[in-house]
């Protein structure tokens, strides 16, 4: 079951909002598709991201995938812990496997994302 309190994108990112800070990661579905994750490339603090712009790359043994910002804003920090233990994205993608914290510039953008039910439906088809 995927967390019901999050928003999701078609590219398999999730967003958790707390005030004006959005925490971003990838879903279990995405992590499973990628396989054992070996590296995550994240942007520097201060970088400005547009909605759906590429903010980084996630690399597994056999695949690589771009990461897309679900919402626009300024990068506060990337999860430095992923450098040492990228595998936590596979084991705890919604918790310790978080990737990015952004200071949201437009809260309205969240409405364009999927809710838990819509994301479940999307992955059920795939």
């Amino acid at each position: 079951m995927i967390p019901s309190d999050l928003h999701y994108t078609k590219e398999h990112e999730w967003v958790r909002l707390a005030g004006d800070v959005a925490t971003v990661g990838i879903t279990q579905h995405a992590a499973d598709q990628l396989g054992d994750i070996v590296f995550v490339e994240l942007p520097e603090p201060g970088r400005l991201l547009a909605q759906f712009a590429t903010f980084g790359v996630v690399e597994s043994v056999k695949a690589v995938s771009d990461l897309f910002a679900p919402v626009a804003g300024e990068v506060i920090e990337g999860n430095a812990g992923l450098l040492a233990t990228p595998e936590v994205v596979n084991s705890d993608p919604y918790g310790a496997g978080w990737m990015l914290r952004i200071r949201l510039s437009d809260p309205g953008q969240l409405e364009q994302l999927l809710d838990a039910a819509a994301y479940e439906a999307l992955t059920a088809e795939g």
């Binding site: 054992d36 690399e59 043994v61």
Partner: protein
């Protein structure tokens, strides 16, 4: 694979011992030989290179070689790689001192034998492909692709057409194609394939336009199918003002049957380590000559090999052809490899080469037929195929959980190198199987039998398959840790169990 005997080996560094004679290779230099060099330029700490006696060195490498599988070991049906037999006479040829000891910057008059051979090879490849001219410079197929795309770039710029930024590539293409397009400064436009595996003409038609610099097509395709719509596609491309590049990886299927330049391709590369039997070497070296039609000749890399009216040969001089895109690498090419390709072509002649493709295509269709008849694996595209074909374990996976990866590893236990797996990406659980023309019929049958046996095992004892291989020198490897904590060089105190010294 029966690997009785070969044992894992420690590294050279672990075999090393101070004072272990490495042999008296050359006389000792004078003690003061380096005194004239400024101290600041000299090495303060000698490199910690291993000291190993020659006997131990030889055993090290002989034992390591026995952990390897080559064409000389057994069947190697790697699709798109053309693992045909590597003739030994070519190894003899490359080692003749007249060829091996020749310095690339030696004056033309001292290199007439090699220059003549290179010139002839250019002519041969041009004739085989129906192209007007060939460059032998690129060091590999991928470099040939880059050369080709830089030629495309130069062509359009010379016409002052700077809008052509896109290269159209089918989604079944080898990864080098889009990577090459990027390196040449182009944007890749991915074109989905049609359901029969061929190019989707309508998708191409929609994508072609004034921004199209070229298309890159593999023909026969990476699915092992000859592109039946090739005439229309080439017409469409040229009508849009773009050029057509052919990835020649699958040339082994069409020798004497289809000449790309004649058919309308503007530029193509050859993989001599595939079609022309130069050995793969464990990953290289190869060579990737490029053939072009007339309009692209001025842009070819320099220097070209020229024949003078008197019958002697020379290299183009610097600046002799200003429109050239320049150099792709130092010197004239991987000459040692090109020599082997020349010898292969000379041994065959036109009839022999056509027979190569005949037998390669016949063998692939026969093997395909064996699998299609049984049904344990899907054979998604209706025949006939070219020199290779796709089979899929998607159905097997649904029924038993056993995937193509597992089938591949279990084939090792049956004594075969696995085929190419998970390529092209457009087919689920794909196996790309290319037997080549140098395998006996008994081998083809035995391989089919082995694959079918594995399918039965998948139903009856799936664990046996999913935990394969059992009889290889090592079991499945921890690739995740290898990528997360890369250990790319030896350091004393490396982790992981030390193998017993061989």
């Amino acid at each position: 694979m029966s690997v009785t005997g070969p044992k894992l080996q420690p590294t050279l560094f672990e075999l090393s011992g101070t004072g272990r004679a490495a042999g008296r290779r050359i006389p000792a230099p004078p003690a003061d030989a380096l005194d004239r060099l400024p101290v600041a330029a000299r090495r303060a700490v000698p490199p910690a290179l291993p000291e190993v006696d020659e006997a131990s060195l030889v055993r090290h490498y002989v034992n390591l070689s026995q952990l390897n599988w080559g064409v000389d070991t057994g069947f190697y049906p790697l699709g798109s790689c053309t693992m045909k037999y590597n003739p030994k006479v070519n190894e003899w040829a490359a080692r003749l001192p007249g060829f091996a000891a020749l310095h690339p910057l030696a004056p033309d008059e001292t290199a007439q034998g090699t220059l003549e051979m290179l010139w002839e090879l250019e002519q041969d490849l041009a004739e085989i492909s129906g192209m007007a001219a060939v460059t032998l410079q690129p060091a590999a197929g991928a470099q040939g692709e880059l050369t080709g795309m830089l030629l495309v770039r130069a062509y359009h710029r010379a016409r002052l057409d700077l809008e052509r930024t896109d290269v159209l590539i089918p989604d079944s293409a080898h990864g080098t194609n889009p990577a090459t397009a990027s390196m040449a400064g182009f944007r890749t436009v991915n074109i989905p394939s049609a359901s029969d595996g061929g190019v989707d003409l309508e998708a191409f038609r929609a994508a072609l336009g004034p921004r199209s610099a070229a298309i890159m097509i593999t023909n026969p395709s990476t699915l092992g199918l000859f592109e039946r719509r090739i005439v229309e596609l080439l017409e469409m491309v040229h009508a849009a003002g773009a050029l057509a590049y052919m990835d020649g990886a699958n040339l082994n299927a069409i020798l004497g049957r289809f000449r790309p330049g004649e058919a309308g391709f503007d530029v193509m590369h050859f993989n001599v380590h595939k079609t022309f039997a130069t050995p793969h070497g464990g990953g290289g070296p190869g060579a990737g000559p490029v053939g072009v039609r007339g309009p692209l000749i001025p842009f070819l890399p320099a220097p070209r090999v020229l024949r003078e009216p008197g019958g002697t040969f020379r290299l183009e001089r610097p600046g002799e052809r200003p429109a050239s895109i320049g150099r792709m690498r130092a010197h004239v090419g991987n000459v040692g490899i090109l020599l082997r390709a020349w010898a292969y072509i000379r041994a065959h002649g036109a009839e022999g080469l056509r027979e190569v493709s005949d037998d390669a295509v016949l063998a692939a269709n026969y093997l395909r037929g064996r699998l299609e008849a049984d049904g344990a694996y899907e054979v998604p595209f209706p025949g006939p195929c070219a020199h290779e074909f796709i089979a899929s374990a998607a159905g097997l996976k649904r029924a038993t959980g056993v995937r193509t990866l597992d089938v591949a590893k279990r084939l090792i236990d049956k004594g075969y190198h696995p085929p190419t797996i998970y390529f092209p990406h457009t087919v689920d659980e794909a196996m790309l199987i290319e037997p080549t023309e140098t395998e006996r019929l008994e081998t083809l049958d035995a391989f089919a039998d082995a694959l079918l046996e594995i399918a039965r095992e998948a139903h009856q004892t799936p664990e046996l398959v999913t935990s394969a291989p059992h009889s290889a020198p090592v079991r499945r490897l921890d690739e995740a840790t290898a990528a997360r904590q890369p250990n790319l060089r030896w350091r004393p105190g490396n982790r992981a169990e030390l193998p017993n010294a061989g």
